[in-house]
């Protein structure tokens, strides 16, 4: 929709062009959320794609995903990637509630910074133990993915800070993954999105969508069902289960435990 309160568009070419933060600023990436709701308090857009970041760079020890890389771009790239994680990455891209046309514009960084509980890029980056690289003025901070989102539509970003890129250790791309998603409707919004990972360091489980902020569980080896369930209950105790029209909290809890069990069974096989 038209954002009629916007009077200025800034299109930075390089980092030093980024303006000092001001009230009424918003960073614009794909625009798929920003333009989907009234934004009456905004007056200035800072266009991140103008910075021309390379969407995806595979380096020897890490995979670098620009925050402005689209979900469609990541999906297409993973299709040809050939590593064990590729299928899981593609399924995360497709777990977005928006249509494939949204994926053509929506970005990895936008999905993380919006920080909706159902954000599939949250599950993805946590499962891959990614690091979020953040520009804060002239500083650059590195934040583990599982500490990036603090709650529904709340991140650790200070005003004016920009998520630059997401870095994934290459070693994890060859781990084994299992993904499960629950939704009230076919192709619907995630009410629970879980990714399990098994590698030499043990078992890790990312729980998103059913909880207000992502949970990250780690075990030295595959736990049994009871231990996993107890760990989920303990981890969720602080913030509880998420409640909105996309699923009731008791059902989300039930589905989370059930899907975690399925992940366990798949990875144990």
């Amino acid at each position: 929709m038209d954002l009629n309160t916007i009077d200025t568009l800034v299109r930075p070419a390089v980092r030093r062009d980024l303006p000092a933060p001001a009230r009424g600023d918003a960073f614009l990436a794909g625009g798929t959320w920003l333009f989907s709701e009234p934004q009456r308090d905004l007056v200035r857009l800072i266009d991140l794609p103008s910075l021309g970041w390379i969407p995806i760079a595979q380096e020897p020890d890490r995979l670098v995903l620009a925050a402005t890389c689209t979900l469609a771009g990541l999906d297409a790239w993973a299709a040809d990637a050939g590593w064990a994680a590729a299928d899981m990455v593609r399924r995360c891209c497709r777990a977005l509630w928006g249509s494939f046309k949204i994926c053509n514009a929506a970005t990895i960084g936008g999905n993380l910074c919006l920080a909706l509980p159902a954000a599939p890029m949250a599950a993805l980056t946590i499962a891959l133990e990614a690091t979020c690289v953040v520009w804060s003025g002239l500083e650059t901070d590195r934040i583990p993915a599982d500490r990036f989102i603090l709650g529904p539509q709340r991140t650790c970003l200070a005003p004016g800070a920009v998520l630059r890129q997401i870095e994934v250790p290459s070693a994890l791309l060859s781990a084994r993954f299992a993904l499960r998603q629950a939704s009230l409707t076919v192709e619907g919004r995630s009410a629970a999105l879980l990714i399990g990972r098994l590698d030499r360091d043990g078992f890790a489980l990312a729980i998103t969508a059913s909880v207000p902020r992502p949970l990250s569980l780690r075990f030295d080896r595959l736990p049994d069902g009871a231990a996993l369930r107890a760990a989920i209950e303990a981890a969720s105790a602080a913030d509880g289960w998420y409640d909105d029209m996309h699923g009731a909290p008791d059902w989300r809890r039930h589905m989370t435990v059930r899907l975690a069990g399925e992940i366990l069974a798949e990875l144990a096989a």
């Binding site: 954002l3 333009f35 989907s36 949204i102 514009a105």
Partner: protein, 902 residues
């Protein structure tokens, strides 16, 4: 900004926060629609350098230097001799549209799919919403692209395409705002954040100081007259409880002030600078709260003048009635069933929002171009509101983007007309999607208690219903919907003793209004589940139960003592409908993965519905038909919003005139053309306006024969043909007889009855609550079906909306009664992925009252669907779901409670 649109280089002026959709429409590319404005419905889809995007989410500046392809540019590369892209041709061949508002976005999206994407349409089309069709023909049309070797679809000769079909697939069909309106002033409305408050003051100085703002309207400026936004043949059917702008707000979202400015941006800025002081009043969020002895009075009015039954008790209307002796009936019953059922608040979800453009024509006529099902009744209401003679007001519609009852209201014409009168300028108001949820109408939520007595053989001995309906802040249709709900739903069953207690009350929530089914959907949900529950307890098959208890020709139709007696068995096909269900529901076909897995349970259920063929108390239609030098011209009042009535009118006229529908031009839905037409609601497009058309055409046929006799001086057996009038070898051309004209008029009585039966087979996954529809079967008694393809489309669309109401849709209110999910992102409209294909059967009947033997079939297929699904769900799981919607989480919770801890 320079770009290429549909192959043509263009230079557009864009603003920093503008979306591409707005820029494209401002440039005259009206095939790009505004449906949701939030990237959910897909009506605005375009290709940006070949990549499909939602143009409402695409910043306009991003299109700089790009190639943009809209529906208007699809044909270029793949066009055949007809100048259409293959996907456009497929949509025509499969009639994959009704109102056509979503079609351009569907086509652009479909054109971009590769074969792999076409094989997973559930996923590929999830960003495109169609409210009319139920997606079946859309899926068929897209799938047909992968079967080029198949012979072309043979069109049933009885099912000509809608006259607007070519324009719809080319994106050139003109909807309400598909015209340049750069000269018009733009209006936005300030809406109340409070569910209930008195307005203490409104300071408009800062708003008026915004450059471009021309006018601010508040309750201090408007006529004192109270009226209802609901439009009936007789406006007195709804209470006069609404002011153009009021000093009391009764729901969050009620309009408080109107700001009129040169641009939408200036109007929004003005709105944001209005300073309103409210004195909050206690909210009344539920009917129970409204009925409490100490409840705040929502409408402090004289009930006798405003036609409110008891304003002190927030009671709009009540009905307490008994036919026979229910106490005696219960006493002789072998069993008595008692239960309570609830239906939710629903939105119509038409993709074109409410909106209107008003101006003063050169001859001084107040002229309103609008998106309405009732242009004539709106004309009458505006004349009354502004105290003008009706002939000084003109209201007209072009193509309307869906209605479903929602556009049987005057929700914007009144305020834009007032602003046009005040400014002397054209003024435009277009609702946002959010306003559709917070400020337009919804379906009346109801709580219905049934108590039914039966003998062991299924004979009903007493039937009582206690209904409480929530009309929200205003009484729109509250009484009429209540009366309708308790009429056909119980008249359907043979039972000598019936009792009705019905009430409709005000709450401080968004107003309810007319909605497909007009109360019957809610009542059927209760009655049809009750019948099923009785059948279950008596061990009677549900279809046999209906066969034993439904009325048959000759039986009196009994509901209440006040019911009208102008309803006849013009035809009767319920027995055939039940027989179709008995043979069509195949209990053996279960997919392997379900049959093998004990976590799944399977069941089936049916439900019936009856509906009178027209609203009570008259529904008037006029039609005029002329033979001119250029051929036939048919003039009707009915608006076309995808119901297809325009096509059937042409078929009816063509049948009477011995010609083909494509040889008749049509003019419609304009008060300047005709005296009166009550409107396209209550499924009257075919049955009432169609009958007026038939009468006009038959009269013209008589005049043509007479003129042929007069001209030749020879009486004869003159037969009308497409070229002229023939008697043996003699031919008189039509052109030689022009001009001639005739009129037809219908008053809407007597009425007939129509029937629908729906059946489902479902599978339910007990551990998760997931529900899968294995089979969906619908049988309809529509009399003689004039246009089978269109009629099937109406059935499929009604079933789709019914499934939405049963499984997904719900407007959620917070504890104060404020809407908390005002978007298609949070209000789940069924997508292609959500809906099964429905097998549709028609009873073979011919109605003696309807045109060409036809009966209406547009709202009624919706009515039995939620009950049929609940009955199937109960059969599968053993658990009753008496409240809609049954989402997976609710199903799981109920099954978990029944199964005990797992």
């Amino acid at each position: 900004m320079r770009l290429v649109i549909d192959g043509a280089p263009r230079a557009l002026a864009v603003t920093p926060g503008q979306c591409l959709r707005t820029a494209l429409r401002a440039d005259g590319n009206f095939g790009v629609k505004k449906g949701c404005d939030s990237g959910d419905c897909g009506a605005c889809t375009v290709l940006l350098d070949g990549v499909p995007v939602h143009s409402c989410l695409t910043p306009a500046f991003r299109a700089e230097g790009c190639r943009v392809t809209t529906v208007g540019g699809l044909a270029a590369p793949g066009a055949g001799p007809d100048g259409l892209h293959p996907v456009q041709r497929a949509f025509l061949e499969h009639t994959a549209f009704q109102c056509g508002f979503c079609t351009p976005g569907m086509l652009v999206t479909a054109s971009s799919l590769d074969q792999a994407q076409r094989r997973e349409l559930a996923r590929s089309m999830k960003g495109n919403i169609c409210r009319c069709t139920g997606y079946g023909p859309i899926g068929d049309a897209i799938a047909s692209l992968d079967a080029p070797m198949l012979p072309p679809v043979q069109r049933d000769p009885r099912s000509p395409l809608a006259p607007a079909a070519q324009a719809i697939v080319r994106g050139t069909a003109r909807f309400t705002f598909d015209l340049p309106t750069a000269d018009a002033l733009q209006m936005v409305l300030l809406r109340s954040p409070h569910p209930h408050a008195r307005i203490v003051s409104i300071d408009r100085d800062a708003a008026l100081a915004v450059p471009g703002v021309r006018l601010v309207l508040t309750h201090e400026d408007v006529p004192a007259l109270l009226y209802s936004t609901a439009r009936h043949q007789d406006f007195r059917d709804s209470p006069d409880d609404t002011r153009l702008l009021d000093d009391v707000v009764r729901h969050a979202g009620q309009r408080v002030a109107a700001v009129v400015a040169d641009t939408l941006a200036a109007a929004e800025r003005g709105r944001d600078r209005l300073v309103v002081r409210y004195a909050p009043l206690p909210p009344v969020p539920t009917p129970d709260a409204a009925l409490r002895a100490d409840a705040p009075v929502i409408h402090d009015k004289d009930g006798a003048i405003a036609r409110i039954a008891d304003p002190r008790r927030n009671l709009v209307m009540a009905l307490h009635d008994e036919v026979g002796d229910t106490a005696a009936g219960f006493a002789e019953a072998d069993m008595v069933h008692e239960a309570e059922y609830r239906t939710q608040r629903m939105q119509h979800g038409h993709l074109e929002t409410h909106g209107a453009l008003a101006w003063i024509a050169e001859d001084g006529v107040l002229t309103v171009r609008t998106s309405s099902q009732v242009p004539f009744l709106t004309r009458d209401a505006l004349a009354r509101l502004f105290d003008r003679p009706p002939e000084s007001v003109r209201v007209f519609c072009e193509r309307v983007g869906g209605g479903f009852g929602g556009k049987q209201e005057m929700l914007c014409e009144d305020i834009v007309a007032f602003a046009a009168l005040r400014t002397g300028r054209a003024v435009q108001l277009e609702f946002t999607r959010e306003e559709q949820f917070t400020a337009a109408t919804c379906r009346h939520p109801m709580r219905i208690r049934t108590r039914i007595g039966a003998r062991r053989d299924g004979t009903l001995t007493a039937l009582s219903i206690d209904l409480l309906s929530d009309t929200g802040a205003y009484g729109n249709f509250g009484a009429a919907v209540m009366f309708h709900a308790v009429n056909e739903s119980i008249a359907l069953y043979r039972c000598a003793n019936k009792k009705v207690d019905a009430r409709v009350v005000y709450t401080t929530t968004p107003p309810a209004g007319a909605f497909r089914g007009f109360g019957l959907g809610q009542a059927c949900f209760a009655i049809e589940q009750s019948l099923d529950e009785i059948a279950g307890r008596l061990g009677i098959d549900p279809i046999a139960m209906r066969e034993r208890t439904v009325i048959r020709p000759g039986d009196p139709m009994i509901s209440t003592s006040g019911a009208l007696h102008d309803v006849e068995y013009g035809s009767y096909g319920l027995d055939q409908c039940l027989a179709h269900l008995r043979t069509a529901l195949r209990h053996d076909a279960v997919p392997d993965e379900i049959a093998r897995d004990p976590d799944w349970c399977v069941g089936s259920g049916i439900a019936c519905a009856m509906i009178d063929s027209a609203p009570p108390f008259g529904h008037r239609a006029q039609a005029g038909i002329a033979l001119t030098d250029a051929g036939y011209v048919l003039t009707i009042g009915t608006a076309e919003f995808g119901n297809g009535s325009t096509t059937t009118h042409l078929q009816i006229a063509a049948a009477a005139l011995g010609t083909s529908p494509d040889r008749i031009a049509i003019r419609q839905s304009d008060t300047a053309l005709l005296g009166h037409d009550t409107g396209a609601f209550g499924s009257t497009g075919t049955a009432i306006a169609g009958l007026a058309t038939e009468r006009a055409a038959q009269a013209l046929a008589g005049l043509i024969r007479q003129a042929a006799t007069d001209r030749t001086g020879q009486a004869g057996d003159w037969r009308l043909t497409p070229d002229g009038v023939r008697d043996g070898d003699r031919l008189v051309t039509l052109a030689a007889l022009a001009p001639l004209s005739a009129d037809g008029e219908v008053a809407g009585t007597p009425r007939s009855v129509c029937f629908n039966v729906h059946g489902f087979r479902v599978a339910v996954h007990r551990p998760t609550g997931a529900l899968r529809i294995l089979q969906s079967v619908h049988a309809a008694d529509a009399g003689h079906v004039i246009n089978p393809v269109q009629c099937r489309g109406q059935v499929e669309g009604g079933v789709a909306q019914g499934i939405g109401s049963a499984l997904f849709e719900q407007i959620r209110l917070d504890e104060t009664g404020t809407v908390s999910n005002a978007s298609f992102r949070s209000y789940h409209m069924p997508r292609l992925a959500d809906l099964p294909r429905t097998e549709v059967f028609f009873a073979d009947t011919h109605d003696r009252l309807g045109p060409l033997g036809a009966k209406p079939m547009s709202e009624s297929p919706f009515n039995p669907v939620p009950a049929a699904l609940a009955n199937a769900l109960a059969d599968a799981t053993g658990v009753r779901f008496r409240e809609t919607p049954f989402t997976a989480d609710r199903i799981w919770r109920a099954l978990a409670a029944a199964d005990g801890p797992c």
